[in-house]
Symmetry: C2
């Protein structure tokens, strides 16, 4: 139970955390700041937050928990705005998709990494955005990855873990470097491919027709490409190293597939396809067995 | 209303057509042949077909409609097996994902393109396969593309169109070359990318972990990669020209995106992402407006 929680950045995720905390009675007061006043007004109107703050300093004063839910590239300037106001005992967490960059931004802004900083990443994708789409149950059954360092205050980590568990999420801990590599593989690269494909096809002759005849395959891709462009720009800027590493391996593999297609090496094509299907089926089965009640 | 329909290849699609025709009373008798006897037994047991035939020749004798539902690379040998038995008035259609290859296979097998051959392609993707998954309503609300030539008998085209309409599909006509290019873009390339991605990631250190943390992005990809490997091998063999053409454009676009990421050109990244999102949103809206009742 927190007495005052400050949400910095009131979009879909910030709003959903705020709403979840309020609805479950986990915070006596939830305030928020956003650079867009309209978001704060809508949040207050919808009862997502208790109050809107006029500045980051106002929001975090006397807060026992601060949750950053801003695009990755805005994290550092947010830390700078917090620097002279942040209470010694205030716990700070975030919801960004890249974790090493959060520590680096903190080092730049604070001169050292605050012991009460516990970076976090809820794995809950959604096409929707904005506080209007806030949903107090959006994290239920989903994973949240926390990436504390050895120097992180254990009590702070525990408090952040309990907050997410109270929102019915499943919390795991991981090194920040490992987190960024796994996410580059499972999320960032697929999004880059989806954006590239939709861009390529939009430039073809009759793009309406292309979308019209899109069966399962392409539709799944375009759904991915409907995500927020600014959020994704920041993710690629903040995690370029791991993304480029896995992108290059993918490009090599794709070039090999191209050779198999162009040279009509059908047996080898079948092997690759069957291997991919086996991997998918194998892990689908494992995931189904391990899937807790309520995950979707 | 057909008196005798012969289904060659009793898998998910062949079985679904058979089942749909029977359930709607559109054929007095539906027989089938499949190289796997087990499929015929299961089809007969489930009431998907009226009878199993011992050979292609037996199946198509006296048939007024023959529907090929075999993998693309088996089309030509099927035509060869039909050559000396096919009645002059028997209409022939198929359900393959590549259409130029069907005409080419017919030319090779018959010496010329039969006037009653009306190639078709139902756009109804599914992860499932086998006659056990046959569903008489799987085509309802989905598009079926027919690709007759100028030399094709108009009555045959009409009969095939009416058959699909009776299964509640929406029938459109298109040049075979155009069909193959559009499908290379909307279906074949996305599948190739999905196979390549799953293959790349399966080779990474802890692949179980990679699947475990897969959020929206990667899960959509892996669903695509769960399709039947042999079917896809045949599609890439039969449509390699258009596939390689669009793959090369995609590879160029992806290389440009790589440069933007590696050089930190965030403004240009945002432009690409925003353009992709706009295209997606635009066409989603158009599709929603044009979506007939019952499509999903």
């Amino acid at each position: 139970m927190f007495s005052r929680v400050a949400i910095i950045g009131l979009g879909l995720i910030g709003g959903s955390v705020a709403s979840g905390l309020r609805q479950r009675g986990l915070a006596a007061h939830v305030t928020a700041w956003d650079k867009q006043e309209a978001a704060l007004k809508e949040g207050a109107k919808r009862g997502v937050i208790d109050s809107a703050s006029a500045s980051i300093a106002d929001a975090i004063a006397d807060a026992d928990l601060v949750i950053l839910a801003v695009p990755m590239l805005a994290v550092q300037e947010t830390f700078v705005a917090m620097r002279d106001v942040l209470g010694d005992d205030t716990i700070v967490t975030d919801v960004g998709s890249v974790k090493c960059a959060v520590f680096e931004a903190a080092r730049q802004a604070f001169g050292e990494i605050p012991q009460n900083l516990v970076p976090g990443h809820p794995i809950a994708g959604s096409e929707r955005h904005g506080v209007g789409a806030a949903d107090p149950d959006v994290f239920a059954g989903h994973k949240v990855i926390l990436t504390p360092k050895l120097s992180t205050n254990g009590d702070a980590t525990r408090a952040v873990r309990e907050m997410w568990q109270a929102l019915d999420a499943m919390v795991v801990e991981m090194d920040p470097e490992h987190h960024d590599l796994v996410l580059a593989q499972t999320s960032h690269l697929p999004h880059l491919l989806a954006y590239a494909l939709v861009d390529t096809l939009s430039h073809q002759g009759d793009s309406l027709e292309i979308f019209e005849y899109a069966a399962g395959g392409f539709r799944d891709f375009t759904r991915i490409a409907a995500s927020d462009p600014v959020m994704w720009r920041d993710i690629f800027a903040a995690n370029s190293g791991p993304v480029l590493e896995i992108l290059d391996r993918f490009t090599d593999d794709l070039a090999r597939l191209r050779t198999l297609v162009s040279e009509g090496r059908t047996d080898e094509l079948t092997e690759v396809f069957a291997r991919a299907k086996t991997a998918r089926d194998h892990f689908s089965l494992l995931m189904a067995q391990r899937k807790p009640k309520g995950e979707h």
